[in-house]
């Protein structure tokens, strides 16, 4: 039987993710890279890398869906679908009982109310950096740490501090003040994580928190934030093995659904140009 493959590209503000799945919904390849200014060149590069990983040529990909903030800059995508829709589909793939998904990415935080893989309601916090990955990057930077260090350090806390500022800039100043007061680093970081978690908990409260609750996005790799989120939501929080890939997985799976639906109806499948062009902003 001829295998058919589907690709999902999630071009986020901080990270670009590509996933290739086959018709059995098995992941054949996945690539994650930092998004830079040249979205279109990067989309090209990561897709090439994923194809090499999967041992496929671009012609063998039946459908390509682009999602994320940069989705319109993927010239070879067959379709663009909003990230929330892709995300809902992606989380359902691994966690069919998920009812609430919380995604904290580089520049925004989102809450998705889901049922059977369909998005019922959503809420977004995208007006400022507070409560996002960018916030953690700034804090790590001001403490001379990397983002990857924050979680494990914060777990050592025995007396977390309260960070009162809701603004990233002022929170950073507050952290510096606390350091100079001699407050242990782990307590400060636990307070920072709690600030993010409480903000997110307030945001999703409107969606009514009910299990299963899933946490995705780059910030989900921070075990300190995961812990704080559990405490603030008052329930267990699941985290996928690779929390960055939900959107790309969902995009690929939606591509599969679109393709199979069209084939079943005998309808044509509208595709983009089938070549990876080297496109830059300066052309």
């Amino acid at each position: 039987m001829v295998q058919i493959y589907f690709a999902g590209i999630d071009l986020g503000s901080t990270m670009t993710k590509v996933v290739i799945v086959d018709q059995d919904e098995e992941i054949c390849a996945s690539v994650i890279k930092h998004t830079g200014a040249e979205h279109r060149r990067l989309a090209n590069q990561v897709t090439e890398e994923a194809l090499i990983q999967a041992g496929l040529s671009f012609d063998e990909i039946s459908y390509v869906i682009a999602t994320g903030y940069g989705r319109i800059t993927v010239p070879f995508a067959d379709r663009q679908i909003t990230e929330l829709t892709c995300h809902a589909r992606g989380v359902f793939h691994f966690f069919p009982n998920v009812r609430l998904a919380i995604d904290i990415g580089g520049q925004d935080a989102k809450g998705l109310k889901i049922k059977d893989g369909k998005l019922l309601d959503f809420t977004m916090s995208d007006k400022c950096a507070a409560g996002t990955g960018r916030f953690l990057e700034l804090i790590a930077d001001s403490l001379g740490l990397t983002v990857n260090d924050l979680g494990s350090i914060s777990l050592k806390s025995t007396n977390k501090v309260s960070i009162s500022s809701t603004c990233t800039v002022f929170a950073r100043q507050e952290v510096v003040s606390r350091i100079s007061e001699g407050v242990p680093l782990e307590d400060i970081l636990a307070g920072i994580h709690d600030a993010i978690a409480s903000r997110v908990a307030r945001m999703v409260d409107r969606l009514k928190v009910e299990p299963d609750v899933l946490f995705t996005g780059g910030v989900a790799k921070n075990i300190g934030v995961v812990k704080a989120l559990k405490e603030n939501l008052g329930c267990e929080v699941l985290v996928p093995e690779e929390p960055l890939l939900s959107g790309a997985i969902g995009a690929a799976l939606l591509g599969k659904e679109i393709t199979l639906k069209a084939l079943a109806k005998g309808e044509p499948i509208h595709r983009g140009e089938r070549h990876l062009s080297e496109v830059t902003f300066f052309q």
């Binding site: 679908i81 998005l119 019922l120 309601d121 959503f122 409107r206």
Partner: protein
Amino acid sequence: MIELLKLCGFEEQEMESELPRVEKAFTKLGITDEDIERGKQRLAKYYDIELKGVRKVFRLIVRELVAALLVRDEGKKKVIYGFMAPGIDMLGSAVVTKSKEAFVIHHCWAFHIVVGCIFGKMVPILEAAEKKWLKEGVVAHCANVKTLVGPITLGLFPKPDLLVTSGFMCETSPKTLDLLHELYDIPVWYIDTCQDREFREYPEPTRRIASLTAKSLKRLAERIQEVVGFEITDNMLREVQDAKGKLGDALRRLKDLVESSDPLPLSPTHDNIWMCLSTLTLSIDGIAEATEAINTLYEELRERVAKGLGVVEKGAPRVLAILPAGQTDPRLEHLACEVGIAIVAIDGSLAAPFKETSEDPYMKFGLESQQRSMSFPLRRRIPLIIEGCKKLNIDGVLDRFHVGCRSVVADALIIEEAIKKELGIPVLLLEWENFDPRVYNHEQYKSRFEVFKAMMTKKSS
């Protein structure tokens, strides 16, 4: 300028008399050649300006603003302003019908449309008000009062002989007029009524409240009579009400056509234009002209509907919007169309038939104003919205709630919950400021609209 005026429905034969007036008025506003070009582009982009009916309506609005700006230059001896003052349009229309020496402006509507929607120059006006005492920020002072204070502080509108507001719609408004009185010695007046009902009356309209409204309006009429020097009779008001009734019927017929058609034949950017038209203090002849413009548009839209033409594709998700469209900025409604969402109606146009009316024009006003959607207490408004959604086959509800308005902001979550519970359709809550174009964030709103559309499309499939 001539091209712009043609886009706004001015005829060739009236250019000789109107062009100098418009140029003089626009010079007062600081409108430059660059603004004119931008105005032409915005008219073409955001409005269905190829329809003669739309152009005729713009003509009325532009002429009204020009008249307001040149009011003293053109020899009007008595000038009255109404701001957030229900009933002033009725009294004002009676006044301007009777006398060429008096002028009544209602609520800066024409200013919002021309300066904001057409030229996109509302921000300097708001900043002028913020330099005085009104705070910046979406949840600080409502930009509506800034659109009154700004032009006055900039000297765009001459000092009126009377400035009228109401106390029952908003407390920021009477306090603002208080301050304008202190700072600029402008005579002010408040009309008032009581929106609360005793528990046994709640939530239906009551004669008790209507008579309070009527008394307050009568006192306002007496005050206006002192200013203008002639009596405003009941017959004058009845004639205005009849004329406005015909305009209302014409607008209702137009809205019914738009609401029932697929694809949506007219952009929802025009929703605030109808609101403006309904509340301009036109003379009876002017109201008749407005009615004719709407009837012309109705026929044009019937043709569009017959040809299957629309501003979004056929089968686009049908949306009911809660609260009026942006008064100074058409971009949000335009974005909805670009994304492929059909905003077919606003809740303000959902009307239950008037259960009670009166021969006395003041009581008639007092009774009928209680029976308009936005005047309803929440417990009456929610069923009306839900019935409207069912009747119009609505796929989703957009609540662009004005966060600086205490009258409406509290309702948003309750309305959302009720709609989801009763109808199970998606509701998009958008934090919004109806009068401040600075809140518009294209990417944020586009993201939300796209997801909203996807949710409605999935639900219907």
